[in-house]
Symmetry: C2
Subunit: 196 residues, 2 copies
Amino acid sequence: MSHDKILPWPAISREELGNHKIFTLSRTVRRSPKGDREHAFFGLEAPDWVNVLAVTEEKQLILIEQYRHGTDCVTLEIPGGAVDRDEDPAEAGGRELEEETGYRPRQLELLGWVETNPAFLNNRCWTYLATGCSPDGKINFDPSEEIEVQLVDLSRFTELIQEGKIRHSLVVAAHDHLQRGISRGAPWVAEIFGRE
Amino acid sequence: MSHDKILPWPAISREELGNHKIFTLSRTVRRSPKGDREHAFFGLEAPDWVNVLAVTEEKQLILIEQYRHGTDCVTLEIPGGAVDRDEDPAEAGGRELEEETGYRPRQLELLGWVETNPAFLNNRCWTYLATGCSPDGKINFDPSEEIEVQLVDLSRFTELIQEGKIRHSLVVAAHDHLQRGISRGAPWVAEIFGRE
């Protein structure tokens, strides 16, 4: 099998088509690396996102139920949101956790990140593990948010995905970060499953 | 903790803002279930997507290297693409695998699906396991595609994610589908790890 080096397509022109709150739509014309053709790509620029696997002192996972416009359905997810400009992703994770659930963590630990969809989105989604969470914070919903908190045993997380109750790709990616961490015996495993 | 039922927000009006090849952008005004406020949501309608964990007769995983416009980078992913109108997702998975890599599977098996991003996208991404793949098909790239096939031992898949070489959220979700299947001893496990 030949191994031609895959190269980026240089941008010839870029046009911003609209700022739509959560993303900016653009159209970029790019030329193939061989220079033999041009192609227009539509893309979305968005801030990074963050989601948080938050575990209480009692080893319960903090889930949120909310209405989601994209699928026009009520979903079960983990807390999260957009990272503000100049905000650290960990800080954003702690802020979104508190605003959406009222819980605050004793500790935040980076589990991993993904590119949300490199085909047309430019951003990352960061996943943090929040341990020792207590309900001593202040809920502060966005105007379009109505959220119900659900606490479940951490051991239920895998089943909720398997049963199709949790369906968001980024929450499934967060589950994968968690499971890979558990498999390699990450330092925080004792923290979430007890020290005995 | 109170458990108010979370309800959908009914649509008041919907305006299509543009058809941008891979998605259609719309603006929908919705009223809160309590009827106390309205909010405009931007959303993308897209066809379902499919990706394929394809394993050769020699138990090698078929990866593809390609340029991705969203992140302006060359990425390592698994084959996949959009499900055509009236196309079955499994058929689409087999078609994309062949078009992008030239490989054809002996068998296709559904591993799972996710909602790509219920906050603003309406579609699903289906993941299939393709086993017994042989390079006897016909490569047929889209005009904007240049793809290099890379075969790796299936056991390298987890490491490539852990090392940050595979970063696409939907490929990480596919890895999660695979690992959950292995954990619960799905019937196809013998197929991909040998029958001994």
